[in-house]
């Protein structure tokens, strides 16, 4: 359908404005801006807000230069460098240096994710949904959809960079270096938008295209992590990563701009490759064919639990990998954290009042709470899948067979319970194992792995709330609001010195800081009972209402 490359078209036609492959780009950009009129500002404001928040929070947590210096000591550890940046200016750790070293990489990842979703949304997702056929049947050139997506990519990254720059300047940072940070973030966004433009040509499916680009993004972060951990200031591997290039501008330390040129150059190469690939394929087709599967189902699939497990297991596995890696890294920073807490006791207070006699145990126990919060997010996401299944018309198909509504809900919630327990175990084990290696005490791994399960009833209460929202079709926003509020109070309540009454009543404070504090069996049973009651309320609601489409 689109086999003709532009070079083979007659010169006369190519010259005529109406037959260039770019016709219609402007219109498509206008449509795209309209579709993304909320998304792009939200991303920009979220990134700006994050930086503004740290501008307010860091001086509270680290009131003076000495306090900041304890943080720099953590970043000198290989594991600290792995998670953050190459560690320029660690000897004079100011807010700007901290920001460029620790936040730049993370913000760049967030903006790269935005860019990947944006490009795939406007290219492959449109083709997969069949809308691209409608568009291309109009006076729209072959290259116009991709060109329009790339224009939107530039617009979105420029918007993010501007808001980010505003937030940095509002924090009183040097304008030129702030500009380098904002530009570095935008360049990383452009590079991964370019990567997504290429992966969108390769696969027929938007999810595969986003997944492949996201995988490369993860690889880029790990590459620079290994490179930075190997050597302060980064090594060859750091330079193999686009995120590394942004960090190598040494903003707020010894600014240099040229590493960003590498990113711009790579972006240009990727865009040229994407256009070349577009010219070689049909609309809707990919260059990599989809894989085949089984003609018959295994017995294990043939039940509500089996079906839910099948659709959910990949998500559980990815959460497990993410939380596990993060837990091991956090655990392996244990010694550095303990040293800094011993040097700066007020820091320990920020992280939930580590007791003086067991700084290590109580600090890691506090960290375990953070992982439990992440697992609670998983649990709510997992239960919310039920709403999506129903909206997309698959629940009706199952309920039209001999599966009752309670059985369907039970099967789904069972998978959430198993998934949550597995993720808590992985987090606890990872945290304990990392710490065990860091401080040379193999006895740490076991108690953390087992202790993590103390959070299961609480996590399941959040799952139960999400189930109630589904059962009664009550919307999910209030579940998220409760969860986010609980997490914020748990994480930052001590930092902002909220009243003890509030801190103690917050859900994540209801669970003892295991394993350094002992578990209250009564509280566990009460929380578990609450989760069961919520499940029963959800079942009652689902049994009474209409099932849509």
């Amino acid at each position: 359908m689109t086999a003709l490359a532009p070079a083979r078209e007659p010169r006369a036609q190519r010259g005529a404005r109406s037959s260039t492959p770019w016709v219609g780009t402007g219109r498509l950009v206008a449509v795209g801006l309209r579709r993304d009129r909320v998304r792009i500002p939200v991303w920009a404001l979220a990134v700006g807000g994050l930086i503004a928040y740290f501008g307010a929070a860091i001086p509270v947590a680290y009131p003076d230069a000495a306090a900041l210096q304890t943080r720099a000591e953590i970043m000198k550890e290989p594991s600290g460098a792995f998670m953050t940046g190459p560690g320029y200016g660690l000897d004079d750790y100011t807010f700007g240096v901290l920001l460029a070293n620790e936040m730049l990489g993370m913000v760049a990842v967030a903006v790269a994710v935005m860019s990947i979703f944006l490009v795939v949304r406007h290219t492959r997702a449109e083709e997969e949904a069949g809308r691209a056929d409608l568009v291309r049947a109009g006076v729209v050139g072959r290259d116009a959809p991709l060109a329009a997506a790339l224009v939107l990519l530039v617009v979105a990254n420029a918007a993010v960079a501007l808001v980010l720059l505003g937030a940095l300047l509002a924090n009183g940072l040097a304008p030129v270096d702030s500009g380098a940070v904002a530009a570095g973030v935008a360049v990383v966004g452009l590079v991964f938008g370019g990567v997504a433009a290429v992966t969108a040509q390769l696969s027929e499916h938007a999810r595969t295209a986003s997944g492949a680009a996201g995988g490369l993004l993860g690889l880029a972060y790990v590459l620079r992590g290994v490179g930075d951990a190997a050597q302060q200031g980064g090594s060859a591997l750091s330079w193999a990563s686009p995120i590394g290039w942004a960090q190598q501008t040494r903003a707020f330390v010894d600014l240099r701009w040229w590493p960003l040129l590498l990113g711009v150059a790579l972006c240009v190469v990727l865009v040229v490759a994407a256009f070349a690939l577009t010219a070689r394929r049909d609309v809707g087709a990919g260059l990599v064919a989809a894989r085949r599967g089984r003609a018959d189902a295994r017995r294990t699939l043939l039940s509500p639990v089996g079906l839910t497990w099948r659709t959910e297991r990949a998500a559980i596995a990815w959460w497990g990998v993410g939380l596990g890696v993060f837990a091991v890294l956090t655990g392996s920073m244990a010694q550095g954290i303990v040293d800094s807490f011993e040097a700066q006791p007020q820091l320990a207070e920020v992280f939930g009042g580590a007791s003086a006699d067991d700084v290590l145990g109580s600090t890691l126990s506090a960290f375990l709470t953070f992982f439990a919060m992440a697992v609670a997010v998983y649990a709510v996401v997992s239960v919310n899948r039920l709403g999506r299944e129903e909206d997309e018309g698959r629940t009706g198909v199952v309920l039209a067979t001999a599966v009752s509504r309670p059985a369907w809900l039970r099967g789904s919630l069972l998978v959430t319970v198993v998934g949550s327990a597995a993720l808590l175990l992985v987090s606890g084990l990872g945290l304990g194992a990392g710490a065990a290696v860091s401080v040379g005490d193999p006895g740490l791994a076991g108690p953390f792995a087992v202790g993590s399960l103390a959070y299961l009833p609480l996590v399941l209460c959040f799952a139960g709330l999400a189930a109630v929202a589904h059962g009664w079709r009550a919307g999910t926003w209030w579940v998220w609001a409760l969860l986010v509020a609980s997490i914020l109070v748990g994480l930052y309540g001590p930092l902002f010195r909220l009243p003890d009454a509030v801190l103690d009543a917050a859900p994540f404070a209801l669970v003892a800081r295991v394993p350094s504090e002992s578990v209250s069996v009564g509280a566990l049973v009460a929380t578990a009972a609450t989760a069961l009651v919520l499940a029963a309320v959800a079942t009652a609601g689902l049994g009474r209402r209409d099932v849509s489409s």
Partner: protein, 312 residues
């Protein structure tokens, strides 16, 4: 097992009413389907066909009226009833990571025992590759997955909601054969459709619904009596001679040919007049289902403009 001896209706719906907010999707709908029959359920988009079916499947709860399905209550006895029926939705959404074959096994075995031989045979007849992930299927292929899953078991009732909207003519033929075979085994079929040729070919009785109400129900023969036959005749009789006969309409003459429509009960007096005048060629065609349909919708659509949207 099917019980063709029983004469109580398989589906009996009385004054069924269902509203979605301000939109009244079903408005005192009546529907009766007898055992062993293929019942056509006709109506334009948004008339309430799918809403009726979803009430019958126990997915929606009716606001008022009664519905009985296979002798049970579709809401309260949903699970037990679902063992005895199979459903094909009009818009088939499947689990993207599963293959077509896995979905067929899943849906069929969640209902009851799966007949693997029949599955293989149906896959062949519908020319469906079961090893592909469902996300790669076209609309027609997704529909085939639902059809094979429904037809692969032995059920008393097939509930088919516009089951062929994505199929090509060859596959439509295969579908019609499969339905005919199921009927031969004693299965009752409720077939919602707006493809009239399909209904004419398959259905014993039809119910035509409009704006959530049954406007007509009966055998195709009964319904045809309600409208006029078309007559084309070569005769010396002048057109004016027909004007005096009650029940003759739309008379037109074209050279020696007369065309007109006639009410069934006026047919004998028309034939007598024609026979007396002499004729050399006569074609009488019964009204097509299209004409029936237009008759019920075309005239009624102008006198009120009740919005019927919202019913999916």
């Amino acid at each position: 097992m099917p019980s063709p001896t029983s004469s109580s209706p398989v589906i009996e719906v009385r004054a069924l009413t269902k509203s979605f907010g301000a939109v009244r999707a079903l408005d005192e709908l009546d529907l009766t389907v007898a055992p062993g029959e293929v019942h056509g359920f006709l109506g334009p988009n948004g008339a309430g066909k799918s809403t009726t079916i979803r009430v019958l499947l126990g997915l929606l709860r009716a606001d008022a009226g009664t519905a009985r399905l296979l002798g049970g209550d579709p809401w309260a006895d949903a699970v037990d009833l679902h063992r005895r029926l199979a459903y094909v939705p009009g818009e088939v959404n499947l689990w993207p990571k599963l293959t077509g074959g896995e979905v067929i096994d899943l849906l069929a075995s969640l209902r009851g025992p799966l007949d693997r031989t029949r599955k293989a045979e149906l896959l062949e007849r519908f020319d469906l590759d079961p090893t592909k992930k469902t996300r790669t299927y076209s609309k027609g292929n997704r529909q085939k997955v639902a059809l094979v899953a429904a037809l692969a078991g032995d059920v008393e009732l097939l509930v088919l909601d516009e089951p062929t909207s994505g199929l090509d003519p060859l596959m439509e033929l295969a579908f019609q054969e499969c339905v005919a075979e199921a009927v031969g085994r004693g299965t009752t079929v409720l077939l919602s459709s707006h493809i009239l040729a399909e209904v004419e070919k398959l259905c014993d009785r039809v119910t035509i619904i409009r704006a959530g109400r049954a406007v007509q129900s009966g055998t195709l023969r009964d319904l045809r009596h309600l409208t006029r036959s078309n007559v084309r005749v070569t005769t010396a009789l002048p057109p004016a001679a027909l004007d005096g006969i009650v029940g003759v309409h739309d008379v037109a003459s074209d050279g020696g040919q007369l065309t007109f429509t006639v009410d069934d009960d006026a047919l004998s007096s028309v034939m007598a007049a024609l026979a007396a005048a002499g004729m050399s060629n006569l074609v009488v065609t019964p009204p097509t289902l299209e004409e029936l349909f237009v008759h019920h919708y075309g005239t009624a659509a102008t006198d009120d403009a009740v919005p019927t949207g919202g019913a999916r």
